[in-house]
Symmetry: C2
Subunit: 362 residues, 2 copies
């Protein structure tokens, strides 16, 4: 199979996304993205035993070291940065060093934030090893950690020098995480790519069977969609907010249940269906389209009902601390059609109440 190369077009900070099987066997993409003479690989206890040695082999001749963190969203806090900063400082890494994130979205977010803040910003490279990270969090420069009072509330925009996606790393991904990643893939179809949504309806079985060509196509199409939106609106002043489809509902679920109970993609899946349900409550989206989405999510083994533990009042309070609140008004990403999302604070709040009050309807 060929290597696919896309660009995220951000002027002088433009960077490539490289997609293909066995890219980790090729030192070139990584070496090209490293400018200085030193590097630090950040990974976790699950991914490091699988891929760290192969990545470090490409760093021969550079001063380099590795930081291996515990695995899980529960560790994505300000405290987890200290081992990274300490390794950088003990190893006398200067502002021309490069941080390499080897792992899923949590490792990418943490490493990116460490890179954004070490000596006021050093280079970093993303090597995402989960589908979720490959199609979403590794692209676009959002980095950060959670706070006990809210998810991703501490962070920075910091673009990587390159994103290197070896599709073979998905061979070792647990089924549950594969499905969670597909939730974000489905999101791109919902936002503004109806033909891709239809492609997913036709090829979901291939994706779940990890058919290489299907995976590569889904990753490429997702990254293309995301790269286009990010290039148009890097700092989320407008269109980029569309990428949060399902996330305001989803973040409430993640925070309310405690980080790590629901996978991010699972919460987003449920959140997208809640956004679709609310859009139907508003009369904006036909109920048949909600059912179509629900069917696709169920085929992907994704949750379609919010947790019973979260009462509507609690759910609403959790949504109100979401970053999508502007000067007190809750803004949501809703749907006019499959493939046509919009960001708006101009909706009948009763529709939100009905959506929260009748989770079974979702």
């Amino acid at each position: 199979m060929r290597m696919i190369s896309l660009n995220v077009d951000l002027g002088e900070r433009t960077y490539p996304i490289l997609i293909g099987p066995n890219l980790l066997d090729d030192p070139e993409p990584l070496r090209r993205a490293i400018g200085g003479v030193s590097a630090v690989v950040v990974s976790n206890e699950t991914v490091a035993p699988l891929y760290l040695e192969r990545v470090q082999a490409h760093l021969a001749g550079l001063r380099h070291e590795a930081v291996v963190l515990p695995d899980g969203e529960a560790y994505k806090t300000l405290d987890i940065l200290d081992p990274i900063y300490s390794a950088l400082l003990k190893g006398r890494h200067d502002r021309h060093t490069t941080l390499i994130a080897l792992g899923g979205g949590v490792i990418g977010d943490i490493t990116g934030f460490a890179a954004a803040t070490y000596q006021r910003g050093v280079n970093f490279v993303q090597i995402p090893t989960t589908l979720l990270a490959q199609v979403d969090s590794s692209v676009g420069g959002k980095t950060g950690v959670n706070h006990p009072f809210g998810k991703n509330m501490i962070g920075a925009f910091h673009q990587p020098r390159a994103v290197i996606i070896d599709t073979r790393t998905l061979d070792t991904l647990p089924d549950r995480e594969l499905s969670a990643g597909i939730a974000e893939v489905i999101k791109y179809g919902l936002i503004n790519d109806a033909p891709f949504f239809e492609w997913l309806e036709r090829h979901m079985d291939d994706l779940l069977a990890r058919e290489p060509a299907a995976l590569s196509h889904a990753i490429e199409r997702s990254c293309l969609n995301k790269a286009r939106i990010v290039a148009a609106d890097e700092r989320e002043a407008g269109a980029r907010a569309l990428l949060n489809l399902g996330h305001t509902f989803g973040h409430a679920i993640e925070t309310g249940m405690g980080y790590g109970q629901w996978l991010h993609g699972e919460a987003v899946a449920c959140g997208m269906l809640m956004a679709a349900t609310m859009s139907a409550e508003l009369g904006w989206l036909p109920h048949t389209e909600v059912a179509r989405l629900r069917t696709l999510l169920l085929r992907t083994h994704l949750p379609v009902t919010p947790p019973a533990e979260l009462a509507p009042e609690r759910f609403r309070a959790l949504m109100a601390v979401d970053k999508k609140v502007i000067d007190g008004a809750l803004r949501l990403v809703l749907l006019r059609a499959i493939g046509q999302a919009l960001v708006t604070a101009d909706f009948d709040p009763a529709a939100l109440e009905r959506t929260l009050a009748t989770p079974a309807a979702a």
Copy 2:
């Protein structure tokens, strides 16, 4: 006295520096810099009793609150951010809120970093109340905190929306801090403004007597010099490094002695004289000019000899973790003349050894 207004010219992020007596009595400059409907003032236990009420009076009609931190460089760590993040999240401040730093350089650096990283970046306003902060740290967008292994090693570039300098706040500044602030004022003369250095030689007694017109002129000229350098090189790719004159030596003193033992300006004063001494050792600067600087620093009651506790080997090790190291080579800001500094890694290391070995010579 008139209000002086300068601009830091950074394209769409251009912002004003306003300088004058009793600016804190005028709500307009602050209200103009606040975009949204909410704000959080961050101050410390020393400054809050003096000025917090006056600042908060200008926030009438906005949702606002204050965070009062303990006073001192020793508290400038990652941990100090938590009360700020918690107040922001508990108060449901969204990404359109504004953080207001009311205090010295430590409060400005901490608040700026909190603003840079809360929800990936919110607005902030600097109201510096020490001379050091007014002429240096509040201008230019460097924000951050210290790490046990190095000073200012964690941070971000984040420009304020405005810098509001009420020169009357210097009335309450302890003598020692006034002198420490003048160290950075002298620095601008040394770097590239020989006429200003000569003005300082003529007016040092007026500055130490806190003569209002002399203070305003010194602050204006310092901010003009800094704003020009920052506008030319925001991210410190080149010329901005000149502003670090005395800082590589100075940071070694601060770190080696423990944060808070020496004031930053005191360490910079001693560091500038060490840089001048080393420049003379290299044959670049006449010894008479070193003596001229030494005399001016002594008149300002600033230290001219590094601490005896710091042996040369330890001093060198501390300098090697400085951010001015690029790919292993130590870069220093040295002097060709008073008013002519240069950044270079191209020097005879023996001159550095001699400078470190004979602190009495400094």
